[in-house]
C-alpha cells in the first residue's frame, strides 16, 4: 500500500529558499516532523496535502489519491450534527456516506451515541475525537496531522495520542509538532527541521507509544529540546 510518498526538492516562498533540497520519504508508521516556529513544518505538510500555502516546490511531491487531514483546530462544522461531521468529507467528495460505519468509528474513538448532538455540546477533547473519527472515515493510506493535539490539556493530549496512534497504526502518518516529547513518544522516525534541512533523530529503542517515564525517554527529550533551542 505505502508507496514512495513524500516531498523531494527545494521549496521557495517568494524569492527566498525555505527548504534546500530536502528528501522526505514517508514510510509506514508515524513520521514526526519537529522544528522551531517558522521553519516550514506546516508548509511541508500543506505542500504534500496539496493545500494552498504560498510556497512552491521545485521537485517532486507524491501522495496517494486519498489523504487524511487533521489540523490543530478540529474544523467541526457547527451546523452539522456530530455524525454528519464524521461523514462530511464523503459528502464533499460526492460519495454516499455510510452512517453505520460513521457510528462505529465514533464508538472506536470512545464517543458512542453522541452522533445526533451538535459539536458545541462537546468538550475540546471530545471535539478532537470527532475530528479523528472524521479522519478515519476517509480510510486514507496517508494521514497528515498538523499539531492536532497542541491545544489540549496534557492529560487529554496523552489520551488522544494513544487513541490516534492505535487507530492509525497501519497507515503512513506525517505529524507536524513543536513538542519534542510528543515526537519521541509516537515517531517511528523523528525528523528535525532546521537551517532549511531535515535531520533524522534516533528515538530510544522502546515500544511505541514510548513511555515518557522511562529514563531513556527523559534523556532523549532533554537532548532534543537542547537541539531545538540551538536551532
Amino acid at each position: 500500500m505505502t508507496g514512495d510518498w513524500g516531498l523531494h526538492g527545494t521549496v521557495r516562498v517568494g524569492g527566498a529558499t525555505l527548504l534546500d533540497g530536502i528528501d522526505l520519504r514517508l514510510g509506514p508508521g508515524w513520521n514526526c516532523l519537529l522544528g522551531p516556529s517558522g521553519a516550514g513544518k506546516s508548509t511541508i505538510l500543506r505542500l504534500i496535502a496539496g493545500l494552498p500555502c504560498g510556497a512552491r516546490c521545485s521537485g517532486r511531491i507524491s501522495r496517494p489519491e486519498r489523504i487524511g487531514w487533521m489540523a490543530q483546530g478540529d474544523l467541526l462544522q457547527p451546523r452539522l450534527s456530530v455524525l454528519q461531521n464524521v461523514m462530511l468529507l464523503d459528502n464533499l467528495a460526492g460519495r454516499r456516506p455510510d452512517p453505520a460505519r460513521a457510528e462505529a468509528l465514533l464508538a472506536d474513538v470512545g464517543l458512542a451515541g453522541v452522533g445526533a448532538r451538535r459539536p458545541d455540546t462537546l468538550s475540546g477533547g471530545q471535539r478532537q475525537r470527532v475530528a479523528l473519527a472524521r479522519t478515519l472515515m476517509q480510510d486514507a493510506p496517508l494521514v497528515l496531522l498538523d499539531e492536532p493535539f497542541s491545544a489540549l490539556d496534557p492529560a487529554t493530549r496523552a489520551t488522544m495520542q494513544d487513541l490516534a496512534f492505535a487507530q492509525l497504526r497501519d497507515r503512513a502518518v506525517l505529524m507536524v509538532t513543536h513538542d519534542p516529547a510528543e515526537a519521541l513518544r509516537l515517531g517511528a522516525r523523528v525528523l528535525l527541521l532546521h537551517a532549511r534541512r531535515l535531520t533524522a533523530v534516533l528515538p530510544p529503542d522502546l515500544p511505541v507509544p514510548r513511555d515518557l517515564a522511562h529514563p531513556a525517554m527523559a534523556q532523549a527529550t532533554g537532548a532534543l529540546l537542547t537541539r531545538l533551542r540551538a536551532a
Binding site: A49, G50, L51, P52, I67, G68, W69, A71, G73, L75, Q77, P78, R79, L80, L88, L89, D90, N91, L92, A93, G94, Q138
Partner: protein
C-alpha cells in the same frame, strides 16, 4: 420590560411637550388625539395599511430571492464576482430613494413602483451581505473541501452556505426595517392607496391627528415585521 418602559417614557415626554403647549396642536397632536384618530379611522387605516403591507411583503420576498440568487451566482463564478462585486460595494453608497420618481415614470402609479423601490432597498443589503458571508468561509473548512477534492458546488452546499447563514440573518434583520420605508416613499411620489398616500392626504386636509395615526401604524408595522423575522431566524438558530 426595558422596552416597555422606554416606550412609556417616550409617550410621557410626547404628552409633556403637548401639555406645556411648546408646540401648537397642528404641529404635534397629543397622544390621546392620535389614539382617537386611530380608533375613528380604523377601517380607513386598515384598508390603506393592507395595501402598504402587500407592497412591503412582495418587495421583501422578491428582493430576498433576487439577492440570494445574485450572491450565490457571484460566489460560484469568479467572473461574475469580478464584475458584480464592485457594483454591490458601490451600491452601499447609492441613495436608492432618489430613484423613486424614476420608478414611478417607468412603472406607473400602481403598486409596481412601490414594490420596485422596496426590492431595491432589500436587494442590495441581502446580496452584498450574503456574498460577504459566502466568501468569508474559514480557511480550515476550505482545506477540508480541498482534501476531499470537492468541486465548487459541493463546497458551496456543505461549507460556504452554512457559514454565510449569520450574514444572511443580519441582512434580513436590516432589510425588514428598510422595506416599509421603501413602500412609503414610493407612495409619497405618486399613489392613490397606501399609508404613505394617506399621510400626504391627511396633511393636505390639515388632519394632523390622522397623519400621525398613519405614522404610528407604519412604525408598528415595521416593528412587527422585525419581531417576526427575529423569531423565525432564531428558530433556525441564525
Amino acid at each position: 420590560m426595558h422596552r416597555l418602559l422606554a416606550a412609556l417614557g417616550g409617550v410621557a415626554l410626547w404628552q409633556g411637550v403637548v401639555q406645556m403647549q411648546l408646540l401648537p396642536p397642528f404641529v404635534l397632536p397629543s397622544p390621546w388625539a392620535v389614539l382617537r384618530a386611530l380608533g375613528h379611522n380604523g377601517a380607513l387605516l386598515a384598508d390603506h395599511g393592507a395595501v402598504t403591507l402587500a407592497e412591503v411583503l412582495a418587495g421583501l420576498v422578491l428582493g430576498v430571492i433576487l439577492g440570494l440568487i445574485s450572491a450565490s451566482a457571484m460566489a460560484l463564478s469568479p467572473a461574475l464576482r469580478a464584475v458584480g462585486g464592485p457594483v454591490l460595494a458601490a451600491s452601499q453608497a447609492l441613495p436608492v430613494f432618489v430613484l423613486a420618481p424614476v420608478l414611478t415614470i417607468w412603472f406607473g402609479y400602481g403598486p409596481a413602483p412601490k414594490v420596485a423601490m422596496t426590492v431595491l432597498l432589500v436587494f442590495f443589503p441581502v446580496a452584498s451581505g450574503v456574498l460577504d458571508g459566502l466568501m468569508a468561509t474559514p480557511q480550515g473548512a476550505l482545506d477540508l473541501a480541498r482534501i476531499a477534492d470537492a468541486g465548487r458546488g459541493r463546497s458551496f452546499i456543505w461549507l460556504r452556505w452554512p457559514h454565510a447563514l449569520p450574514h444572511l440573518g443580519a441582512a434580513l434583520r436590516i432589510s425588514v426595517t428598510y422595506a416599509p420605508t421603501g413602500a412609503v416613499i414610493g407612495e409619497w411620489v405618486g399613489a392613490s392607496k397606501g399609508l404613505g398616500y394617506l399621510m400626504l392626504m391627511a396633511n393636505a386636509r390639515s388632519k394632523i391627528d390622522l397623519m400621525f395615526a398613519a405614522l404610528v401604524l407604519i412604525v408598528a408595522l415595521t416593528l412587527a415585521l422585525r419581531m417576526i423575522t427575529d423569531r423565525i431566524l432564531r428558530r433556525f438558530a441564525i
